[in-house]
């Protein structure tokens, strides 16, 4: 093998900020050593993404004292004192990758195409389908309006009927869509449908678009084959979309691996971690405009983007979708509704402001709970087993209500819940991040909680995805080691028994054995929330749930495991699922105040 990689520079060009991180090989392991950031420079007056990259790298240079740049060039490889061995980057600048997908049946090939596009890191602007209820001219108008970066067309199983998918192609051809960026090139279209229709598709779309044909996304009903489409989307993202964005050609010439769309890189990392540790993971990134959720259950990866659920640009949409009462149920004081909606509106039109008063912070975190909850509902509905698949049922299944298309998300199975994005990563107290995650996602049984401190998952994802032979092993090792040591802030573990229980009755008894040999017993009572401060170290846990209560081993069944504390510790959540807040205002406020006090969520004062 060639020489060990000693230093890695990675950047993520976001729509507003470009973030650079420096990873160095120190004391026989990879560690994140420095980070820098600067405004992204895709738009006027700069119109060159590399300017922002250089500014962010310059900050890393200043902090580390290491020379990385030679004028406007990144010095590679590392010669001991100057430069870095590898440079990689992700990008979501200029609105990221925006796609439109089409399938014959909305809930079958349409959904598979959407999964492929989302998995590749794109925003799906619309899903066209033969059965979506719109007339051809309505579809055509929609395609013209949207101007996507590319289109993924699928439909039909291999060898099956071709009429419907050709009809969709004809609609695309009639719309003659133009790409979002660049006036002078044809729109990339990927065809991933019935292989019998290839000739007809070429005839219909070959002239008007830049057509690529890949393997069918649903070769047979029972099988989904997303990989070829996902890979092709990544290739085209580089070749077409990125190449049109200002400065990207230069940036592409600097990097040692293809630039990935930011969410695609995050998804790749989460998928890899889940596989390596053999665990179920949910990751969330709540931004100003959108909320991305990634999950791996039963080894299957899914990603959803809730395009209009976010904490600044889309904050009013959270309010509109959840309703003001759902937001206010998390606020432990009375507040005038009209005044509150104006305040939230003002956050939308001045998205960079920060909560100065405690009252503002509490309201913002209440909205975050609802944004996360709604995004997760959308994710659960999308992350399903394949629809339209006939399964054989035996007599033992006769009383089961299961069918195809069930959600893969099983909160009792969830091992790790990772949050990132300003409202979670920058919450003044880590307890607030833990509470937001628990209240919104409602984990069941035993679940470890973490936040991504500075959102470096994109950079680690692109590192983990490097497939050049000489670089692959070291890059993967670096991604995993930095993820373990520097990326995640371990908040602790939530223990949440569920099942029918009378108010305030005992739901479970927990016995804990700590590293230093000490032990402790905790009762989890219905309606309560308790916290025990325990650092990030293994703790042996034995849980004896009450008769109708489940903590993961079945109703009334005891469970033994090893869990970890963290900067928050262990949280014992007896609030059952879903968390129902009392209708009576004073009772609800009292509950909220008790729960906040139990985990030391907010500073004590007039409000708490």
């Amino acid at each position: 093998m060639s020489k060990k990689i000693k230093s890695i520079l990675a950047t993520d060009c976001g729509s507003t900020t470009t973030k650079a991180i420096l990873i160095e090989w120190k004391d026989n392991r990879y560690r994140l050593t420095f980070r820098g950031e600067a405004p992204t420079t895709v738009e006027a007056p700069f119109e060159d993404v590399t300017k922002g990259v250089l500014n962010a790298v310059m900050e890393v240079e200043e902090l580390s004292g290491r020379t990385i740049l030679d004028g406007d060039e990144i010095i590679t490889p590392d010669n001991g004192e100057k430069g870095v061995d590898i440079y990689v980057s992700t990008s979501s600048a200029g609105g990221g990758l925006q796609m439109m997908v089409a399938g014959v049946v909305k809930s079958m090939s349409g959904e598979s195409a959407e999964r492929a596009a989302l998995g590749a890191g794109s925003i799906v602007m619309d899903v066209l389908a033969s059965n979506d209820g719109r007339l051809p001219h309505e579809k055509i108008t929609r395609i013209r309006q949207l101007r996507p970066d590319m289109i993924l067309l699928s439909g039909g199983t291999d060898g099956g009927t071709t009429t419907h998918v050709i009809e969709l192609a004809e609609i695309l051809a009639a719309a003659n869509p133009r790409p979002r960026l660049g006036q002078n090139y044809k729109l990339p279209v990927i065809y991933a449908g019935n292989n019998k229709a290839h000739d007809n598709i070429r005839k219909t779309l070959g002239e008007i678009s830049d057509l690529d044909i890949v393997e069918n996304i649903r070769p047979v009903l029972e099988q989904e084959n997303l990989e070829p489409s996902r890979d092709k989307i990544h290739d085209l993202f580089m070749e077409h979309v990125m190449a049109q964005a200002p400065g990207y050609k230069k940036l592409m010439s600097w990097t040692d691996a293809p630039i990935m769309p930011t969410p695609g890189a995050v998804g790749f990392l989460i998928e890899m971690i889940a596989k390596k540790e053999n665990i179920s993971v949910v990751g969330v990134d709540i931004g100003g405009a959108t909320t991305d959720i990634f999950s791996v259950f039963e080894g299957k990866f899914n990603r959803t983007v809730s395009a209009n659920l976010g904490m600044s640009y889309s904050i009013c949409n959270v309010l509109a979708e959840s309703g003001i009462d759902n937001v206010l149920r998390w606020v432990p004081f009375d507040i005038d509704h009209n005044n509150l909606t104006n305040r939230i509106g003002n956050k939308m039109i001045r998205p960079t402001t920060v909560p100065q008063s405690l009252e503002e912070l509490v309201v913002e975190q209440a909205i975050a709970r609802e944004a996360l909850r709604l995004s997760f509902i959308q994710h659960k509905a999308f992350a399903t087993s394949l629809k339209g698949v006939q399964s054989e049922r035996t007599i033992s299944d006769a009383f089961e209500q299961s069918s195809s298309g069930q959600s893969l998300v099983n909160m009792m199975e969830l091992d790790l819940l990772v949050g990132s994005g300003g409202v979670l990563s920058h919450a003044p107290r880590r307890q607030q991040a833990a509470r937001m995650l628990i209240d919104a996602f409602m984990p069941e049984g035993i679940t470890e909680l973490a936040v991504d401190s500075i959102f470096m998952m994109p950079q680690l994802g692109v590192l983990a995805n490097i497939d050049s032979k000489e670089l692959k092993d070291d890059a993967n090792q670096a991604a995993l080691e930095v993820f373990d040591n520097d990326c995640l802030i371990r908040l602790g573990t939530c223990i949440a028994p569920i099942g029918k229980a009378k108010p305030k009755s005992k739901m479970a008894q927990v016995s804990l054995s700590f590293e230093d040999g000490s032990t402790k017993k905790v009762d989890i009572n219905e309606g309560s929330l308790e916290m025990l401060e325990v650092p990030y170290e293994p703790v042996k846990i034995e849980i004896q749930p009450s008769r109708r209560i489940d903590v993961g081993a079945g109703k009334g069944e005891p469970l033994s495991s090893t869990i970890y504390g963290g900067v928050v510790g262990l949280i014992f959540d007896g609030r059952n699922r879903p968390i129902n807040l009392p209708k009576d205002s004073s009772e609800r406020i009292q509950n909220l105040l008790n729960w906040s006090a139990a985990v030391n969520e907010y500073p004590k004062g007039d409000l708490f």
Binding site: A93, H137, T163, I166, Y313, N317, A320, N342, R343, Q356
Partner: protein, 373 residues
Amino acid sequence: MAHSYTPGLKVLKKTLFSKERILPLKGEVLVKQGDKLSPETIVASTSLPGNIQMLKVNNILNIEPGDVKACLVFKEGDSVKKGEKIAETAGFLGMFKSSVESPVDGTIESISDSTGRVVLREAPIPVEVNAYVSGRVGKVIQNEGIIVTSIASFIQGIFGIAGEKQGVLQLVSQDPSEELTAEKITNDMSGKILIGGSFLSLEAYKKAMSCNVAGIVIGGFNYYDLKEVLGYNLGVAITGTEKLKTALILTEGYGSIPMNKATFDLLKSHDGKNASINGATQIRAGVIRPEIVIPLKDESSEDVSSNVQEGIQEGSVVRVIRSPNFGKIGTVTSLPAELHKMESETMVRVAEIKIDGKNFLIPRANLEMVELQ
């Protein structure tokens, strides 16, 4: 001196305003560099491809898709009139024929052997772009449009609805803190752009629409009243396409907030003059704010202020843009370098501001530069 970058909204007495006027598709530019323009001058025009009609001819005639071509009376590229027969079966011994008539005037764009569909395209839709403001052609962008330039007063709002409008400015509120009430809006204000003070109620806005007022510039409006105006909850601040008689531009935000004095005074000084306004707002990357452009008679470029934004410095006049103290104007007395812990325990960089003789520590992110000329 300590320095902090905080973009503010522009309030410029005299500036060189320029704006792209571009066609959605390539077309013809109708003016030359240096030409004098009025807001209504058409600067470029083109034709958008006509709407599409798809006819399932095989289904209507009850034949196989491959047989459709043989039944067509026309071929690809031919023009057809509404009601004209475009396909007919041979029938049985010349009887029991079925036929398909064209539902629109248009041309036959394509005929599919595999699906039996015939695609008809309606006549092209003409599109024109006007100059939007009085001024001159600063630059011609071949086949696409122009950049219009104008020596003008220029004011940005924080949020607006409805697109481009023109009209004569009319001062209605006498003071920046005076509400613009429904009683003050009268029928003779049709086509005018009204200048208000602190607040416009839903009732007053409805009255303005009924009086065909072209636009209103005001300090604040209630967020929750937007739903009744727009017919839906405004989830993200991307506007400009609303079909409303009266454009609305907020200079400060939601709620009752006195209009910034510099904005108000500048608007007041132009009472009775022609202005072009645009409520289009896009608060995303590539932010677009609503604008008020008042072209000046004096076309000389003397005293034109540059648009270079300076950061906040000691002595800068700033506005607080988040509660507490929302909407208040103050002067920066110092910009401490270290992070400060706020009541919310958020650690932020702050500025020390003097408001009405009292000092406050406020996060820099919650301040907006008031740009004065």
